[in-house]
Symmetry: C2
Subunit: 349 residues, 2 copies
């Protein structure tokens, strides 16, 4: 994948040459961006709004496998997972900084691919790339992105505002990114055992796209405003539904009843879980990387969201002493605890 007809060594450009080369087409899209790449720091003017900042690090061999992740997709995903955190605050991302460490096994062309994905995401989400750092590494690729956004104080939504009786809602569907990863891992294994066999990925566009090129839900803050619903708490789903519910409950000091039969799962993902002998609910609960938004709303807002195809009510918040529970399709109640997902998942799988 890193081979190219024309391979240019990173050392031929040097750090400053590489930065200049990669950033040559950057155009500023936001009024708030006063100074972008090229000085000791970027300068941003949010006037009377608040600044919102989030950061994520992606490490080769931990968060991605370059055997099946194209570098352009990786760059794109590295940006969207960061922007997802900003949307989860009900804020608007405006700028990002991008740092990466690459070893000599990457050519300039490879880094260009990575950067092309980053720029594509910046264009789609209308954020400005305003700074970063480029360095060598002794082994793998590491990408660290910081996203900066803005919000009016009254629009911000934290994790700690959910209250007993609130409805628990989720956008889109869950588990597909995880099952997409299982498919890629299976085809990688087959390929390694039989290098002549081409990967069989046909007809799995949706789950592959969810894994390789996830989108951040920039439409949801807009939709919520249109529906005149302000969630009481919100978080994005990066580690899996169960883990995010835990964060909301812990920080809001409430309990939760989650209904298994309400969890939205795409039919193509559902079918593939069966092919892999996995439980679709387990994939949704623990799979992660869906980058959907999970939020709680006051019961009185239910009529405003109930007919919306982008929002599913999957449970409700309870008193803290009732704990976090999963109500299965069979009507059984299992406690969702911080530790021991595995044993729980074995039970329902």
């Amino acid at each position: 994948m890193l081979e190219n007809t024309g391979r240019t060594e990173l050392s031929s450009l040097g750090e400053f040459g590489l930065i200049k080369h990669l950033t040559r087409f950057i155009e500023i899209k936001n009024e708030s961006t006063i100074k972008g790449v090229g000085d000791d720091a970027a300068v941003i003017d949010f006037k009377n709004k608040l600044t919102v900042v989030s950061t994520d690090m992606l490490v080769e061999g931990v968060h991605f496998d370059l055997m099946y992740v194209p570098l352009k997709h990786l760059g794109y995903k590295a940006v969207t997972v960061n922007l997802s955190d900003i949307y989860a605050m009900n804020a608007t991302p405006r700028q990002i900084t991008v740092s990466f460490a690459v070893s000599n096994r990457f050519s300039v062309e490879a880094v260009e691919e990575l950067y092309a994905g980053i720029i594509t995401a910046c264009n789609k989400y209308k954020v400005d790339l305003v700074g970063g750092d480029t360095t060598t590494s002794k082994s793998g690729l590491v990408i660290s992105i910081t996203a900066i956004g803005e919000a009016a104080a009254e629009d911000l939504i934290y994790r700690d505002g959910a209250k007993d009786g609130d409805l628990l809602c989720v956008t889109g569907d869950l588990g597909a990114a995880y099952i997409g990863l299982q498919l890629l891992e299976r085809e990688k294994k087959i390929f390694l055992e039989n290098p002549g066999v081409q990967p069989d990925l046909d007809g799995h566009d949706y789950i592959l796209q969810r894994q390789l090129k996830p989108e951040a839900r920039k439409d949801i803050p807009v939709l919520l405003k249109k529906l005149e619903v302000k969630p009481t708490a919100m978080i994005d789903i990066s580690d899996g539904l169960a883990s995010e519910i835990l964060h909301l409950c812990t920080q809001s000091e409430v309990g939760c009843n989650l209904y298994e039969d309400k969890i939205p799962i795409d039919p193509s993902a559902y079918n593939m879980t069966r092919e892999f002998n996995l439980d679709p609910t387990v994939c949704a609960l623990s799979g992660g990387e869906d980058y959907e938004l999970l939020f709680t709303i006051d019961q009185s807002d239910y009529p405003k969201v109930k007919a919306n195809p982008d929002i599913t009510v999957i449970g409700h918040m309870t008193h803290k002493k009732e704990g976090m529970n999963l109500i299965t399709k069979a009507g059984t109640t299992y406690p969702l605890t911080a530790q021991g997902w595995d044993s729980l998942l074995n039970k329902i799988a």
Copy 2:
């Protein structure tokens, strides 16, 4: 160094446990910090000031060697090198985010040491740690820090404002961090060849401190205000004097005459360069990691800075067509070019 009487495995805490453990003593120091660690993003309120953002990545084996860099010092340095960029904008740092990737060879105690250094720097520079990401790596340690500051629009100093005739000034002294590194490398080599021999670092406190625990010049923006001097351009010295002069000249579209005999070098660093058969000027020009500030001022401001012990005038800016030149102690003029430092340095060394 990573061994400890009580070693706790990272896996025993998990990511969220580790973050909670490390951030338990964080106290918010700035009014502008509305929300710190613990949500999808941090929230900052700079009211009518501008936001300034800078980011740096440090990679094991590239930027530091854990054989002689204590983790606490590493954490401290990772923060100060970022803050240095904010001061170089004549801005005040207020918040940082810290991401790091660590492998299993690090214990919880080792990560605590790293974090202790980060917190010590935060306390000293009165910045709030407001977010970050903690992940595993397959091999080395990678630290990525983003610093966020504030400034009134009229106070900001960019790299592109230097003009023909301006005086070139530098704070503190140069080259000591580089010669400190040479000393550490020498003692490491001796130790590897003869593990029984203890490193001989006595009497070299200054150069070692400059390398292992550099400070950012937070006093300089204050001093400049007191002196009623606003530099026309400013940059911090991370890559070496020559490289930073190049940035100022390129972005300001001017030339420069730098006088070798004016470059401030600490006597202890000077003596050590001789012990290593290195040229002190070469160390100052190319050594880097001094984290002093390099700036240009209008000639009319000369009386305000000339008697100040923290500021040295080392040259002046010229018309772009005259290029960048080093005037040696012998009175010879050598062009300072973007490429080919090595050949130049061989000439003057």
